[in-house]
Amino acid sequence: MANNNVTSAPKKKSHGAEIWHRFKKNKLAVIGLIVITIMVLAAILAPLIAPYGFDEQNYSETFIRFSPKHPLGTDNLGRDILSRLLIGSRVSLTIGFIAVGIGLVFGGLVGAIAGYYGGTVDDILMRIIDIIMAIPQIIFAISICSALGPGLVNTMIAVGIAGAPNYARILRSSILSVKQQEFVEAATAIGASDFRIITKHIIPNSLSGLIVQASMGVGRAIISAASMSFVGLGIQPPNPEWGAMLSFGRTYFRDYGYMILYPGLFIFIAVLSMNLIGDGLRDALDPRLKR
C-alpha cells in the first residue's frame, strides 16, 4: 500500500484510479459489482417495476408454479412472488448495508481507540471484545433482537452490533501494525504533525482490511438477517423480506418448492456478488496479498 503512493506519483495516476484499474482486471469482481448494482437499482425502482403489489392477494390464482402473468409463480394467497421478491430486496439489501454501517461505526470506533491509545484502554476494550466473541455471532444477534423486539430497525441494530467486534479487531490490528511501519517513523522524522500522520498515513493504510471485510460483511449481514426472520425474529410478515419469505414458504415447501427456491436464490446471488466484490477489493487494495 505504501509503495503504491510512491509508484503512482510519477505516473500521475491517483490512488483511487490505481485501485480501480486493478479491480477492473478481476472479471468476477466486476460481474459481482454489475449484479449488485442491478439489484440495488431494481430495489430502488421496485414499486415502479414490480408487476403487482407485494400484498396484492388473488384467491383465484394461488400456488401457480409458472405462468406468463406470474413468471416466478404465486404463493398460497395468490401473491405474485416476483413482485414480493423485488419489494423484499429493498428490505434485505437495506439491512445488509445499514447493518454493516452500524457495525463499522461502533467496531471502527472501538478498534481505533484501542489501537491508537494502547495500554490499559486497549486491554479493557479487547477483554470486552473477547467476551462478546465467546458468544457465536448469530446467537449474539438473536439475543439482541429478542431484547429489542422484532422489526426492521431492531434487526439492523442486532446484526450490526453483533458484527462490530470483528471490525474492531481488524482495525485495531492493522493500526497496530501500521503504527510500527518505517514510513510512519519517516513521517515523524521529517516533522509531520500527529494529525497529518494519523489522517495521511495511518488511516489510509489501515482501512484496506476493513473495506474488504465490510464488503463481505454485507453478504453475511444479509444471511444473518434472513436467518433471524427464518426463526421468527427479525422482519415480520406480511413484509416481504427474503428470509421472511423463506420462513413463510416453509409451511408449503414439500409440495411447492419454488416458494422457497426463489427467495433463497436471491439471497445467494446478492451474497455471492458481495463476496466477489470483496475478493476483488482485496486484490485491488493490497496487491501483495494477490495469489
Partner: protein
C-alpha cells in the same frame, strides 16, 4: 504446558462471567413480561404481582445477577418458566444432540475442505483448483438453512433416500451434518488452499524435492504440517459457527437440541433457558478455542517451547508469537 492450560482455564472464568452479564443485561431490556406469559391474560393483577415477586423479577439487576452467578457455582441455572424443570436438566438432555451435530458437521467440513484445499494448492490453476474455488465461493454465499431445505426437497421429498427431520440415528444425521459440513468445507478449503500455497514455495520444499522425496511424502510430511496452524484455526471457528448456527439448523431439520430449546424459549420469554443456552454454547465454544490453542503447541514445536517453562530467547518468542497471531488473524478474516 500444564501451567499454561491451567492459566487459560482460569481466564475463562471472567469471560464467562462477562457473557452472563451481557446476556443478563440484554434480557433485562426485553420488552415482554414473563409473568404475563406464564399466567396468560386471564390472571388477576395480584397473581401477576405474586409471581413476579416469586421469580425474583423485582430485585435490582445486580442482585439478580449475583444470585444467578452463585447458582451457577452450585450447578443451578435456574428453573424454566414454561416447563418448571431445572434449566440444567433441560440442557443436559439436549446437549449431546447439539454437540454430535456440530462435531459431525465439522468432520465433514474438515475432510472435504482439507482434501480439496490440498489438491487445489498442489495443482494450482488446474481444473480441480478452479472447481474448488468456485465451490468455496458458492459455499460461502449460500444460506445454510436454505441449502438444508433444498436438500430436504431433493433427498427426502423427491428421492426418498433420507429422513428429513428428527435425530434418532445415523440415517437421520446425514442430511443435517452434510448440509452444514458443506458450507464449512468451503471455508476450510479456502483457508487450506491459501495456507498450503504459502508453504509450497518454501525452500525446504524445494530441498525435499531435490533429494528425491516422493510427492506424497512432500505433501503430507513437509507441506501439510507446516500449513496446519491456520487450518486448525479455521476449523475451530467453523465448529463455533456450527454451534451457533444450531439455533437455525435445528429448526430446519427439527432436531431437538440446544438450538431448538433456545428458539422455543425466546418465543416463550423463558429467560432462564435462554441464558442457560447461551452460557453453555459460549462455554463450549471457549473450550474448543482452548483445545485449538493447545493443539498449536503440538503442531508447532516452536510454540511448545514457549510454554515449556524454559526461558527461550525473547526475540524468538516474539517472532513466533507474531506469526501465530498473524496466522490466527488471517484465519479469522478469511474464515468468517
Amino acid at each position: 504446558m500444564l501451567k499454561y492450560i491451567g492459566k487459560r482455564i482460569l481466564m475463562m472464568i471472567p469471560v464467562m462471567l462477562g457473557v452472563v452479564l451481557i446476556i443478563f443485561f440484554m434480557l433485562s431490556l426485553s420488552p415482554g413480561d414473563p409473568a404475563v406469559q406464564i399466567l396468560g391474560p386471564e390472571a388477576t393483577p395480584e397473581q401477576y404481582a405474586e409471581l413476579t415477586e416469586q421469580l425474583g423479577l423485582n430485585d435490582p439487576f445486580l442482585v439478580r445477577y449475583f444470585n444467578y452467578v452463585v447458582g451457577i457455582c452450585k450447578g443451578d441455572l435456574g428453573t424454566s418458566y414454561s416447563t418448571k424443570q431445572p434449566v440444567i436438566n433441560e440442557i443436559i438432555a439436549r446437549f449431546p444432540t447439539t454437540i454430535l451435530l456440530s462435531a459431525l458437521s465439522c468432520v465433514v467440513g474438515a475432510v472435504i475442505g482439507i482434501i480439496f484445499g490440498i489438491i487445489s494448492a498442489v495443482k494450482q490453476y488446474s481444473f480441480i483448483d478452479n472447481l474448488t474455488r468456485v465451490f468455496a465461493l458458492i459455499g460461502m454465499s449460500v444460506p445454510s438453512f436454505w441449502l438444508g431445505l433444498m436438500f430436504i426437497i431433493l433427498f427426502s421429498v423427491k428421492l426418498h433416500w433420507l429422513p428429513s427431520s428428527g435425530f434418532y440415528g445415523p440415517k437421520y444425521w446425514i442430511l443435517p451434518s452434510v448440509t452444514i459440513g458443506l458450507v464449512q468445507a468451503s471455508n476450510v478449503a479456502r483457508q487450506t488452499r491459501s495456507a498450503m500455497l504459502d508453504v509450497v514455495r518454501q525452500d525446504y520444499i524445494r530441498t525435499a524435492r531435490a533429494k528425491g522425496q516422493t510427492e506424497m511424502k512432500i505433501i503430507f510430511e513437509h507441506e501439510l504440517p507446516n500449513a496446519l496452524i491456520p487450518i486448525v484455526t479455521v476449523l475451530g471457528m467453523q465448529f463455533g459457527r456450527g454451534l451457533g448456527g444450531s439455533i437455525i439448523s435445528e429448526q430446519v431439520f427439527a432436531i431437538p437440541g440446544i438450538g431448538m430449546l433456545m428458539t422455543n424459549a425466546i418465543g416463550n420469554l423463558d429467560y432462564p433457558v435462554v441464558q442457560g443456552g447461551v452460557l453453555i454454547i459460549a462455554l463450549t465454544f471457549s473450550i474448543v478455542n482452548l483445545v485449538i490453542d493447545i493443539l498449536y503447541a503440538f503442531i508447532d514445536p516452536r510454540i511448545k517451547s514457549l510454554y515449556a517453562g524454559k526461558k527461550k530467547k525473547v526475540e524468538k518468542a516474539a517472532d513466533v508469537k507474531n506469526t501465530e497471531a498473524k496466522a490466527e488473524e488471517e484465519g479469522k478474516n478469511d474464515g468468517k
